[in-house]
């Protein structure tokens, strides 16, 4: 399978994501330049972290209008796997591919730290190699990672089991103290209704080798690879175990 990593002006973690895919997982990947309009036949699109367009108006607000995003949106609507990490998550929300929005952290400061997230659902191509309730150690680094949505949307997210990751403490409890940014419901990552578009604030690409302090991020990458292998590119959502 082929991965595509979008490079917006101001993308910073694009080459870290490529490193994880190409050097650690030894999978083929291509860069997708924001001005291009060809997805080069990739099987999964990653929107990486960083500060696209400086994030000057709102995070992700401008990136979503770049030419490549039109194709990414089409791709997602056809069931293609799209994965937004940090700034990529913000872009997906701005583009309407994921519900809700990410606003300034509760304490208004940027935070770079190791975080613990609990895997809430495993019937998705992004998490199916994890155990339900498993706690992953993955670093976060963001100033605007506080997930918000209106009450009806939140209720729907919970009902459809679209919350994939929640901030927890090392014992797996979703406490206020374990919430680094004030996200509603300690939400760290959500999937769309079709379960093919995933956004999360933590950076799995920075947790793929032991010396990084954790390689728990690998599980998410490997889930995607296994899902693709298992299903071919045809039906992405039916692969999940337990369905």
């Amino acid at each position: 399978m082929r991965w595509g990593v979008v490079v917006f002006p101001g993308s910073n973690d694009d080459q870290d994501t490529l490193w994880a895919i190409e050097q650690v997982l030894c999978e083929p990947a291509v860069r997708l330049w924001h001005k291009d309009t060809d997805l080069q036949g990739v099987d999964v699109v990653v929107l990486p972290g960083g500060f696209s367009y400086g994030d000057y108006l709102r995070c992700g607000a401008m990136a979503r209008f770049s030419p490549i995003m039109e194709k990414v949106i089409e791709f997602a609507n056809r069931g293609g796997l799209v994965w937004g990490i940090c700034n990529g998550f913000q872009v997906l929300c701005e583009a309407g591919l994921l519900p809700g929005a990410l606003v300034r952290n509760r304490d208004r400061r940027f935070v770079c730290a190791m975080s613990y997230v609990r895997v809430e659902e495993t019937d998705t191509p992004f998490t199916h190699l994890c155990r339900r309730g498993e706690v992953l150690r993955i670093p976060i680094k963001h100033g605007e990672g506080c997930y918000v949505a209106d009450a009806a949307t939140l209720e729907r997210l919970e009902r459809n089991r679209q919350v994939l990751l929640r901030y927890v403490d090392s014992n797996g409890r979703a406490t206020r103290e374990a919430n680094p940014n004030g996200s509603l419901g300690n939400i760290a990552g959500v999937v769309n209704e079709g379960r093919n578009v995933f956004g999360l604030m933590p950076h799995p690409e920075h947790a793929v080798e032991k010396w990084m302090g954790s390689d728990d991020g690998l599980k998410l990458f490997q889930s995607v690879i296994a899902a693709q292998r298992g299903a071919g590119a045809a039906d992405l959502t039916a692969v999940a175990p337990g369905h």
Binding site: L57, M62, A101, V103, R104, R106, D107, C146, V148, D150
Partner: protein, 96 residues
């Protein structure tokens, strides 16, 4: 929450007007900045202050044939880019 000051007056052919766009976090959305400002104001002795909310003020210059058109275009800009309807409300004024 939009507000037109659109007076339907024809401007002298493609004149430049100024728009002021106000973008505010929705009532139900957390506004950590507003809270922090309120706390700071209290600490500085401005104890008479109640709720505070912090939003964005965007001033634009734009060419338009009349005020009505300017308002229409400004509204389109707000919907498309300047405000995020999930978390923000907007309003604007076209300069008198």
């Amino acid at each position: 929450m939009r507000k037109f000051t659109a007076a339907f007056v024809r401007l002298p052919e493609e004149e430049s007007v100024r728009a002021r766009v106000f973008v505010m976090p929705k009532k139900e959305v957390l506004d950590p900045q507003g809270k922090a400002v309120a706390r700071s104001l209290h600490a500085l002795g401005f104890t008479e202050v109640g709720e505070v909310r912090v939003g964005k003020l965007i001033e634009l210059e734009l060419r338009a044939s009349d005020r009505h058109q300017a308002a229409e275009r400004t509204e389109a800009m707000c919907r498309k880019l300047l405000a995020n309807g999930v978390i923000e409300d907007f309003s604007f004024e076209i300069e008198e």
